[in-house]
Subunit: 221 residues, 2 copies
């Protein structure tokens, strides 16, 4: 059985979960308390990070490399187009969300609010939380500008860019940090992706001590 070592509110783990589910690759989830840096976990991944995917007996790391690999070996549905121009736009946006958005928004909000609690290391830094809440507005506006001319973020078909973005948004939505009133266009995009069967496992996540907000799993939020 394939297994994904993950933490529930990691956008990188969620991106891989979405890809696995969309491609109907069965996988068993195992929560990884990666911050404890246990020897066993470090043996699986010397980088000491999640996600780690055990696939066909090997341990795969780095969410970007994992998604590219899965898209190559299980081509349906294709999440990174073969056309170099289209693939560029997908990878540009995956980079946008996993680097820029992650740094400016997710790290400031999810990591501050949740990880400080999970790992027992200190309290959220209110300046970080404020910065994250401010930055997400710019990003929603940017997404709106893309979605006004495209059905999905990178073009007219759903791609890895949508999963990367939705992985971040779903984590932020769990902690009530997305203002869905800011853009009807972005809300529609999220409603579309949220209603996919691949999203079900993510909507079922429950964190100990941090219950789901009522709208989180609601497809008609």
């Amino acid at each position: 059985m394939n297994r994904l070592y993950h933490v529930a509110l990691s956008p990188f783990c969620r991106k891989v979960r979405l890809v696995l589910a969309e491609k109907r690759i069965e996988v068993e989830l195992q929560e990884e308390r990666y911050w404890e840096k246990q020897t066993e976990f470090l043996r699986r991944n010397p980088a000491g990070q999640v996600p780690v995917l055990r696939y066909d007996g090997r341990f795969l790391t780095e969410s970007g490399a994992i998604c590219e690999y899965l898209d190559a070996i299980v081509p349906e549905p294709q999440l990174i187009p073969s056309d170099p121009e289209a693939a560029y736009e997908v990878r540009r946006l995956v980079g946008w969300f996993d680097d820029k958005f992650h740094h400016e928004v997710t790290a400031n909000l999810v990591y501050e609010r949740v990880n400080t609690r999970l790992t027992g290391k200190g309290y959220p830094d209110s300046r970080a939380v404020k910065a994250g809440a401010q930055n997400i507005k710019f990003h929603i506006d940017y997404m709106e500008s893309l979605l006004e001319r495209r059905r999905w973020l990178a073009g007219d078909v759903m791609t890895l860019a949508d999963f990367a973005a939705a992985a971040h948004f779903s984590c932020l939505d769990y902690i009530r940090d997305v203002d869905w009133n800011r853009s009807a266009t972005v809300k529609d995009w999220y409603a579309k992706i949220k209603s996919r069967p691949a999203f079900r496992s993510i909507l079922a996540d429950v964190l100990p001590g941090l219950p789901q907000p009522p709208h989180y799993a609601d497809l008609d939020f």
Copy 2:
């Protein structure tokens, strides 16, 4: 004429420069004072980051997406293998250097020592510098463990993984932060890649107020 907007000691810009040079794609370099966030620059790239590549009249951003794109449209020499297993290992290592190594080493050393000076924002944080100097040892040991069973970092041919790593090491070498005595294996790897024609432009970089150390451009360092 294609043009790369860059800063000299950015590992992400250097990775793209190496790929362009290796593929013999001619490009004009233009230094970008990205931290000033000029309107003109932000118009080219709303992410406000370097590198930005003007290619065939379009502006391309995100170094990872740019390298994948260039490898697809100019296939020789191939830097990301077609075989999914081999490609996975290349992308895993590119991720390793551009995420983990960047965060643990480059940001702590290059950004602290150089960018604080360039941007006129404060002084290097000595704790960061100390952490970077400590962390690079672990990474050199990890590279040695790879290079003991492979000719290049990701396998027996040179790939984007080597360019990603060499881009970081060349920045660190400019500021004398690589202890080449730690591993003869890693030193040999760097000597091999440094002697490629693609590396020449990087070895010719001179930063105002920060002269090259004598060994930096020496192929027999």
